[in-house]
């Protein structure tokens, strides 16, 4: 027997075990990739979405809250091969072939994976979820995940609040903070967008163990590395939700805007874009369908008119600015008078309605005299033959009222409107030397001017405050929300004359329909020319006369004279805000029920309006005409109405 016979087995054992220890040393100590692989296997990072901040009105009422919804989810791979979808659908109270259809839908989706959770039914309400809970118990492969969607207890304010939508790839790419994940919801418009960073809160992270079948097995390190979610900020707005809801009701079946501001602070009290929509319809399962219908609506309910609708001129409401600038620059004083015999008769003719003559500053506002303002404007622009310089001064003075520039309201997408520059007129007139008469339509607030309802309301604030305004804002002032005070640069005494005149507009002028018993109110009517149909009705007002609490601008499209619709609606809102009651139920009823939809081009009413064409005569007639519409005396195509067309006459 050879000597090595005894050692062979031992040598083998030593060799093999040495290899094993070496191998173990390699995979356990040298190669660290397995640690990472084990982590990836068993520990999943779960994102905990925080509750989005609520929106509260000025009186503490909840306007925008979160409501829990349930998504029923499942991992297709976890279903048994012989999954009985018929029984399942029956237990879940679904169509028998829902499962088959849903699976087909899911498989078509980009990035579908049978190993990843898929949404089987999305956004069940609490009540709907309660019904299917029993069925879910029998099918543990399906589970419910709680999510939150927005809810609007008042069903109003959709235009201000905006809506949420799933984040798109473009937004994800631009997300420098790496906050978002696919599938997150972000504010698309309105306050939801403007205050996204404060409303969204801070996401939480939870590391959890999962077994091989994807069942949770408790928290990793007992949650030591978890990050708690932080709910979004609840933001207090300056809105009065009841006023808002009332304003939306008054604007039902009309197109236009209402913006009311507390002039002493710049806080927006109500903000209506009509037609509007119930924001509750833009959440939940039917969101997509509702959204498509709204987007297709010819009346454009998704268009935010108060900040974006700056295509119409301010009409007679603009006269007050020219008057104030005239007084400030000394081209007139309050006693200066101009004659008016059917209008202004200079190089061109601008018509006016019948009233006594001559006209001083106060009466010019009260009766809205065109001739008076043509004279004031010509003095402002043509004085000393320095048209260019004078126009630039005028331009700057107008801009200090917040016209022709963004007001800075805390809503996305505001437009600056149009205040034509001197350069613009140089270009339009192609070197021709233009003068005041060339651009005379500006004297009475017509022509190229484009002023948005928010700018108009802001302007009303400047008058109410006798010389200054605050940046209009919806989210209350706080260290994070600075509010600036803007001076108009016009002496307070001139405002006092104007305010007195505006009070007379209500007491015995073009706006008497707006008179509220027991309230000293100041207002000014206006009519914006509309090349596409009847003129737009405009009204600005504030009340009370001393220490004003509310300033308002109301636009009603295609409504004719300012006094017909805009003034009564403003008046009802002011009364509602100041007294919280309405003393003129007949007027209220007429405004609530009145429909102007038949006047809008392209509108096809599925249900004929309550007001039949024959009943039109019952509608209120203004006690005084606002203005004689210029086109009545200018036989020119309204579409080409401009300074050049006036000049060529």
């Amino acid at each position: 027997m050879n000597s090595y016979n005894r050692v062979v087995l031992m040598v083998f054992i030593i060799t093999v075990f040495t290899v094993f220890v070496g191998r173990l040393f390699y995979i356990q100590v040298i190669d660290s990739s397995y640690i990472e692989a084990a982590r990836n296997n068993a520990i999943k990072k779960l994102i905990i979405r925080p509750a989005r901040g609520s929106l509260i009105d000025r009186k503490g009422k909840l306007m925008v809250i979160n409501r829990p919804f349930f998504d029923i989810k499942f991992v297709p791979k976890n279903l048994p091969l012989e999954f009985d979808s018929l029984t399942f659908c029956r237990l879940m109270d679904l169509e028998p072939d829902y499962f088959t259809k849903r699976m087909a839908e899911l498989r078509k989706q980009v990035g579908y994976s049978a190993y990843r959770p898929q949404i089987f039914i999305s956004q069940l309400s609490v009540e709907e979820y309660a019904k299917v809970q029993e069925g879910l118990y029998h099918f543990p492969q399906f589970y419910a995940e709680k999510t939150y969607t927005r809810n609007y207890p008042y069903g109003s304010g959709g235009q201000i609040f905006g809506y949420l939508g799933e984040i798109n790839q473009d937004q994800l790419d631009k997300d420098a903070s790496q906050y978002y994940n696919p599938g997150d919801y972000v504010g698309i418009t309105g306050i939801e967008k403007e205050y996204e960073e404060r409303l969204r809160g801070v996401k939480g992270i939870s590391y959890q163990y999962f077994d091989v079948k994807g069942r949770p097995q408790g928290r990793y390190k007992d949650g030591a590395e978890d990050v708690a979610a932080k709910a979004g900020e609840n933001l207090q707005t300056s809105l009065d939700i009841e006023l808002q809801t009332y304003a939306e009701k008054l604007m039902t079946n009309k197109i236009g805007s209402v913006v009311a501001i507390d002039p002493s602070t710049g806080e927006v009290l109500c903000f209506v874009s009509a037609p509007t929509f119930d924001p509750n319809k833009l959440v939940g399962r039917n969101r997509g369908k509702t959204f498509a219908a709204l987007a297709k609506d010819p009346l454009k309910p998704l268009f935010n008119r108060p900040i974006k609708g700056a295509s119409y001129p301010p009409g007679s409401t603009f006269k007050a600015i020219n008057g104030l600038i005239g007084l400030q620059q000394g081209v007139i004083d309050v006693h200066t008078t101009f004659g008016c015999y059917g209008g202004y008769n200079g190089a061109i003719h601008v018509g006016c309605h019948a009233h006594r003559s001559p006209v001083d500053f106060e009466f010019s506002i009260q009766t809205s005299c065109n001739a008076y303002y043509c004279n004031v404007f010509l003095r402002l622009i043509d004085r000393n033959n320095q048209v260019d310089r004078n126009y630039k001064d005028w331009y700057a003075a107008v801009q200090r009222f917040g016209i022709g520039k963004k007001t800075g309201i805390d809503l996305p997408g505001e437009v600056k409107g149009n205040l034509p520059t001197a350069e613009f007129y140089d270009k339009v007139n192609k070197g021709w030397r233009w003068r005041g008469a060339t651009i005379l339509s500006l004297a009475i607030g017509q022509g190229e001017l484009g002023v948005s309802p928010i700018q108009m309301a802001n302007y009303a604030c400047a008058i109410a405050n006798r010389g200054y305004y605050f940046t209009p804002h919806i989210i209350r002032k706080s260290p994070k929300n600075k509010v600036e005070k803007h001076q108009t640069g016009i002496q307070q005494e001139y405002f006092n004359y104007l305010v007195d005149a505006m009070e007379k507009v209500i007491e015995g002028g073009t706006g008497t329909i707006a008179k509220i018993p027991g309230v000293s109110m100041c207002g000014k009517t206006g009519t914006a020319e509309n090349p596409h149909g009847e003129d737009h009705s405009i009204f600005i007002a504030f009340a009370p006369k001393d220490n004003p609490k509310i300033a308002i601008a109301t636009y009603v499209e295609n409504a004719g004279f300012g006094a017909t619709w805009a003034a009564p609606i403003s008046s009802l809102l002011i009364e509602k805000y100041l007294h919280d009651s309405i003393s003129r139920p007949a007027l209220e009823k007429r405004m609530l029920e009145g429909s102007l939809l038949h006047k809008y081009p392209g509108y096809i009413n599925p249900n004929p309006p309550a007001t039949k064409p024959g009943e039109k005569g019952d509608q209120p007639k203004p006690t005084t005409n606002d203005t004689i519409k210029p086109q009545a005396v200018w036989p020119v195509n309204r579409k080409t109405l401009s300074s050049t067309s006036i000049a060529q006459r």
Binding site: V11, Y34, N41
Partner: protein, 421 residues
């Protein structure tokens, strides 16, 4: 000499007993950790593997005590009977066996299922010892070689028929027994080393292989009496091994076609196949590899506990040890196995009878092969072949079979030492 026997427990080989008990306890603790969840209650819950293993451990202790109380001279006589009986049971299993995981290796007796294959090793071991120790049997003789091969290969063949190829592979371990008893080393070298070299050449990067060969030869030279001759032999073998390793790797890379290579690599668990055998090896490596130097701590593992590793209480039990006890714990376990094997060999060498020595070598070889194949599989250096890790893996048949194997060995050792005094 044959007079009244002294209490055999007085002569039991304590180191072996302690090593054995240590391994069984490590196994029990590891099984508990492999299926642990906070809700499951303690390790004595019958619903869980650790609780059932406790029952297997207690019954094994009982079996051990019973066998240890028997007359040690009876075992030699029982060899032929148990061997023939076992062949009968194996044949019956092929036809009557219960199919588990594709193998018809189970027989249901009342509430417990047993694997006759586990016990067949024991019977074969006894039979081989009995035959080779009989008078006038010399392994240089070709007839003896053939009969020995026959005794070993018949049960292996029957086990293959019941589609339990892994267990059949263990019978190859008897080559060590034959070699110890004088079979020319050439068989071992040709049979075992070549296969190992081929497999290892494919699996392991060349530097590791050359290193292993070097260690192997170093030990050979150190343990040899005639150093000069041994050195020459060692150099020759190293050369031959190098040639084999290089040759196999060359052949594998250059002669085999791509799909053939893929098939072999897949079989060897070398490339990943997430849905098949590759998944198991990958998860096993993740579990062991993530243990690091000191491990994640008892019950703190995630890969076995959360079922990422399949068969985590039986064939892949080492994953739990690797994951929770790390490199240190795993090495300790390997050292314990090494010590146990060396002790068994030591016991074999001190046996006064040829039967005892051959039996001891059989036991050592069987345990060694189990450890080799099982650990090699979990570490991803050997193909996935499902056989249990002795004393550690969950399972009644396996634990009972190894307990009986050890009981007979220790009883003979104790008996002979007591009579020799």
């Amino acid at each position: 000499m044959a007079g009244k026997q002294e209490n055999p427990f007085k002569y039991i080989d304590r180191p072996t007993l302690i090593l054995m008990l240590a391994l069984v306890l490590i196994g029990w603790v590891a099984i508990h950790a492999a299926v642990y969840s906070p809700q499951m209650g303690g390790p004595f819950n019958w619903e869980h593997a650790a609780g059932r293993q406790a029952v297997w451990i207690l019954t094994s202790v009982f079996l051990f005590v019973v066998l240890f109380s028997m007359d040690y001279r009876l075992f030699e006589g029982m060899a032929s009977i148990s061997y023939i009986l076992m062949l009968g049971i194996l044949v019956a299993t092929i036809f009557l066996g219960k199919e588990v995981n594709g193998a018809k290796a189970w027989i249901q007796i009342g509430p417990v299922g047993l694997q006759p294959g586990e016990f067949a090793k024991l019977a074969t071991c006894l039979m081989v010892a009995s035959y080779l120790s009989s008078y006038d049997v010399r392994l240089e003789n070709q007839t003896t070689q053939l009969i020995s091969a026959f005794i070993i290969l018949v049960p292996a063949f029957l086990i293959i028929l019941s589609r339990d190829t892994g267990s059949a592979l263990v019978y190859a371990s008897f080559i060590f027994v034959l070699q110890r008893e004088g079979l020319s080393i050439i068989y071992l070298v040709l049979g075992l080393a070549t296969i190992a070299a081929i497999v290892l050449s494919i699996l392991i990067p060349a530097p590791y292989l050359y290193g292993s060969v070097g260690v192997f030869m170093l030990f050979y030279v150190l343990f040899s009496r005639r150093k000069k001759q041994a050195t020459i032999t060692a150099i020759t073998w190293t050369g031959a091994s190098t040639a084999i390793i290089y040759g196999v790797q060359y052949a594998f890379e250059n002669i085999l076609q791509e799909h053939q290579k893929t098939r072999i690599l897949l079989l060897l668990g070398k490339i990943e196949d997430p849905s098949g055998a590759g998944y198991n090896v990958n998860q096993s490596l993740i579990a062991i590899g993530s243990g690091g130097f000191l491990g994640k701590g008892w019950l703190n593992g995630t890969q076995t506990k959360f079922d990422y590793v399949p068969e985590q209480t039986t064939d892949f039990i080492f994953c739990t040890i690797g994951e929770e006890w790390g490199f240190v714990g795993s090495t300790v376990l390997i050292i314990l196995f090494g010590l146990l094997l060396f002790r068994i060999i030591h016991i074999g060498e001190r046996m006064p009878t040829k039967f005892g020595r051959i039996y001891a070598y059989g036991v050592a070889s069987i345990i060694f092969f189990h450890v080799l194949i099982n650990l090699g599989m979990t570490m991803g250096i050997l193909p996935v072949i499902g056989i249990p890790l002795p004393f550690i893996s969950y399972g009644g048949s396996s634990l009972w079979a190894f307990s009986i194997l050890m009981a007979i060995l220790l009883r003979m050792d104790a008996g002979m030492r007591s009579t020799m005094r």
